[in-house]
Structure formats: C-alpha cells, structure tokens
Assembly symmetry: C2
Homo-oligomer: 309 residues x 2
DNA sequence: CTGAAAGCGCTTACAG
DNA sequence: CTGAAAGCGCTTACAG
C-alpha cells in the first residue's frame, strides 16, 4: 500500500471519528502501554516533584501512567497492583508501602511486570532502586549545625519503620557521635512527615528543660511546620532556634526564613527510574542494584550560631 | 453451582495465580471500570484535596481512576482524552484547560463517556458542573477587609482567562463598588497561582506610592507567598498589611500568621462530582446544570485594622 | 438448568 | 505481495 493511500485512510478514519481500541490491541499483543506508579501520597510535594519528572519521561515514550496512593497501607497497594495486573500494565514504578515484603515484589515480576523502586528499598528484592543517600544527607545537615557551634541538637519527625527513616536517623547519630556530642532520647520526636506534625512538635520542643538550640528535621514540610510553630510562640527561627529541612522542595527557598536544607535529587530519582523502567520494557538487561543519589547541603537563613552556649 | 463450590474454585484460582483479564472482559462488555480525572496540576494542593475525595468516592465503587495533568495545555488534555477513549474509559471528571471549547466536551460525550466538570465551567457545554461561588467568595473577603476599615485594597494573582478568574475579580470589584471605594488598575497584580508568584509580587506591591493596606489574593498559595515576601521585607503580615487567601487549604491554618481565607468546599466538590458521575454511569438522569457550592469566610490572624488611615 | 458457540476489535502467522 | 483466518480471554445469548 502506498504511503499516500495510507495517509488518506488515516485522514478518513479521523473524519468519521474512528477510535483505535487499545484493549483489543493489548489483548492480542499483551502490551498495554500502561505503566503503574504507586507512591505514599501525591499530596506530598516530594512525591509530586518525582512524579513530574516521571511523567515527562514517560510522555516521550507515549506510555500512559496510572497513578495511585497507598497511604502506607499494604492492602491498598495490593489492590492497586492487582488492578495493574488485570489491566495488563507493562511495568511499575513504586515507592513501597511500609512493610512491603520482598515476596510482593517477586509476585509482580513473576507476572511479567518489571518493577523499579524509588525512595525506599525493600530488603531482599532484586530490582533496581533509586533513592537519595539519606544517612549521608542528614550527616551533612547535622555537621553544618555542629560547625556553627550547636551542641544540643534534636531530630524531629520520621519513623524507624522505613529504610529512609532509619538511614536519616543514623546519619544524625553518626555525626553527633563523631563530634562527641550527647544524644538524648527525648530529643528525638518521631512522627508524621507533614507540616502539621512539625507545627505540633513546637510546643513540646520549646517546653523542654534542656531545650536543644537546633533541630534536624525529617523533611522540609516538618521543618516549615516547626518554624511556623516556633514563630507562633514568639521566637525567631534561624536566630533563637536553628532548623534544617530535607528535600529542598521549591518551597524551601521562599519560606520565612529561607530554609537550610538537603537537596535530595527528586528530579533525578524520577528521571532515572523512568528511564530504567523503559529500558527494561525494551528488553534491556539493567543493573538491579541500589543507586544512591548524592545529596547536597543548601545553606540558607534558617540556621545560625546558637544564641546561648 | 452451589456457593460453596464457587468459593472453592475462587480459592483454587487464587492459589494457582490466576489473574482476571480486564481487557478481555472490557472488550466484551464495553465497560472498563476506568474513570479519567484531568486537572490543571496535581501538585496544587487545591486539586490534591479534591482528588482525595474523588478517590475515596470512586474506591467504594471499585472504579480505577486514571489521572492526568494538562497544565492548561489544550493539546495535553486532548491527548489524554484520546487515551481514555482508546482504553474504553467509562467516564471523565475534569477541570477543563483554559480555552477548552464546548465542542471538545461534546466529542467525549458523543463517544459514550459521561463528563462532569469541576472547578471551572465551559460556556455552552451541557454537563454537570461543580464549583464554588467564586464571585460571592471574594466579595466575602473584600467586605471583611472593608469592614475592618481598609480603603486601599489590592487584588493579587489570577487570570481573566478562566471563569474562576473572572468571577473572583468580579466579586472583588462588586464589593469595592458597593462600598464606594476606588479601584485602581495598578492595584491588580494578575499572575500565576503559586507561592512563588505571590512571593515575587511583594516587591512591586510594597514599592507603590499609593501602597494598598490590604490584599485580596487569588488563593492561599499566592497569599502565603505574598506574606513570606512581606515578612522578608521586614514588615509584619496581618499588622502592616492585611492579606486574605482563598480555598482554606489545610496549610492556611498553620501559616504564620494564620491565614484569613475563604473555604471553597473542595471536599464537597470532589465528592459530589464523583457521585454524579457514578449516577450517570448507572444510567441515571442527572441535573446537567452548574452547582455552586457556597463558600464561607474563615477569619484568622492575617487580617486586622489598617495601620495608617 | 447446562454447556458449547459466537463475538468484542485488534494483530500476526499463514495460505494462496 | 495480498487477503482471509485464527486467536488473545472474556461474557452472553442461545441451543439442547
């Protein structure tokens, strides 16, 4: 068939409103052009920034992406994975829910869907993982505070239930120990990773007898919430209490005061994860190991010398 | 077949890893269980809050939702709609991109997908619309500022290209005119609806000879950005300059100072839009008119009496 | 009531 | 090289 004829037919098809049926095609070819993306919560700007770069990467390969939040509920995650399998998705990018067993990852792969993990790893799962080097990251911010002269430093937000949480805490502990500083258990405020949570910690934090002069926060949201709480109590963040964040969201630079934080390479994580998945879809053999993206400290106005020594 | 037998078979199917093929089923029944949701940008917490309530509503009916951002690009929106048609989606909930013609909505409906609009309406499209009463909303915040004694009031952020933008500006104009106050063109700062944009307006705003004592902002993001900019310039928002937001995001209550804003019923919008779509999917005849959700003023600390008269 | 057959709209392997 | 047929995995209408 001549190209001109082909074009004329396409033109005519468009005219009469023909719609290509992807279900039928997919049934026949067992390729759907759908990639699943599962994260904790798209309302979290950290994931939103990752999603954007995944989106722009997948767009180029004309893959449709199917998004879901699992809110750290294994059940919700499994339901979504099931939906992906039923729809014949081609692959999955996921930030696994807390407690995801390696077995769940295996099951997806056994059903023919390549998996790429982001942000969190799963012990024992043999798939590519892209995440920041969290322990290194919090050691950067903790060391920065130590070098300013702080000795009583708190850790606010996060949980021990994720690899990220454990690593970020470890980085803080490493830096403190290396500097010979004391780590008091009640200086740690575990909790959700939201502004609201940071805001709510402020009261307890400021009421401590042996009140720390600085806080390493789990992420920017917690840090901004904590700063809001400190400001609400009539103190000045960055002057009375130094605060560091994590992620370097777009918002960090315009917070008041501008937030000292750790750039976590979310753009990079999304882009690389999407590319590796596309490579796997094209049958390429890829590196099934953990790829740590090196974080960087961005110093702004929320940290300064301690007021009292 | 007895129920017990049916259960045993299901059990066995699960055991051997049987996966129900929804593409095949959908090909046969022409029902896919997929609902498309298109918004401007999921990174915007306003849409994120709407999406949450849509999600929880659709979850109950076991509908999968396929999400996409159009970033106000008609082309991106059309591509996504095309994908939905090809996948045989059952319906669409959308916040239409700027410039969406009624024809585009018709085309979707003609292909058998019921459409429900949220947040914005499309002139001439005969489909249900759920949005806040924007003109009424900004008149609430403007009147609040007027009653505090402000006479020079600016409008920051937004665009005339959307029904929402025009209505919010109109509400401000109405309130100003009713109070016999002057509306100066350079007191209007149109612009994107982001924190960044609000932050960047602060400089020009504060440099005005006839500087307003208050600003009605397009949404909470713009308001929080503007407040950050005001604080960065050494002034105190809520004392030196009064600021109002719009939406009442979760964040508004923990901003510094806590933001006076207009609750915009995003939960309500999402919930009702999802329900009406589900009703349409079940063949029910629904009200194809615009449903305005009545906004409410939430007064907090970012507004006060004008400092100078 | 039960079971085999037809058909949804594609793609691909195969016969002519 | 071209065109008709088979088949992906379901559901439903129909014959027995």
């Amino acid at each position: 068939m001549a190209d001109a004829t082909r074009e004329r037919i396409k033109e005519y098809a468009r005219e009469i409103g023909y719609i290509y049926n992807r279900r039928a095609a997919s049934l026949r070819t067992s390729r759907s052009g759908i990639v699943g993306v599962v994260v904790h919560d798209i309302m979290n700007p950290f994931f939103a920034e990752i999603l954007r770069s995944i989106e722009s990467e997948l767009d180029r390969s004309r893959q449709t992406f199917l998004l879901s939040n699992h809110y750290d509920q294994l059940e919700k995650q499994r339901t979504f994975i099931d939906t992906l399998l039923q729809l014949g998705a081609d692959g999955v990018i996921m930030s696994p829910a807390i407690g995801t067993p390696a077995q769940d990852i295996r099951l997806i792969e056994d059903n023919g869907l390549p998996v790429v993990l982001i942000a969190r790893s799963v012990e024992g799962a043999k798939v590519p993982v892209f995440r920041g080097d969290d322990a290194y990251g919090t050691s950067l911010s903790t060391n920065h505070l130590i070098s300013l002269g702080h000795t009583r430093i708190a850790m606010v937000g996060g949980t021990d239930q994720t690899s990220t949480g454990r690593d970020r805490y470890q980085g803080y502990v490493n830096a403190m120990e290396k500097a010979g500083l004391e780590i008091r258990p009640h200086w740690r405020f575990p909790g959700p990773r939201t502004k609201q949570a940071g805001f709510e910690v402020a009261g307890a934090f400021l009421a401590l007898q042996d009140k720390p002069t600085a806080a390493v926060c789990w992420n920017d949201l917690v840090a901004i919430g904590l700063m809001n709480g400190i400001a609400r109590a009539g103190l000045v963040p960055g002057v009375d209490i130094s605060v560091t964040g994590y992620d370097d969201l777009e918002e960090a630079a315009i917070a008041t005061p501008a937030l000292t934080t750790v750039w976590n390479g979310q753009r990079e994580v999304g882009r690389r994860a999407a590319r590796v998945l596309l490579d796997r879809l094209n049958g390429a053999e890829v590196n099934r190991s953990q790829q740590l993206i090196k974080p960087e400290l961005h110093v702004r106005q929320s940290t300064g010398k301690p007021k009292e020594r």
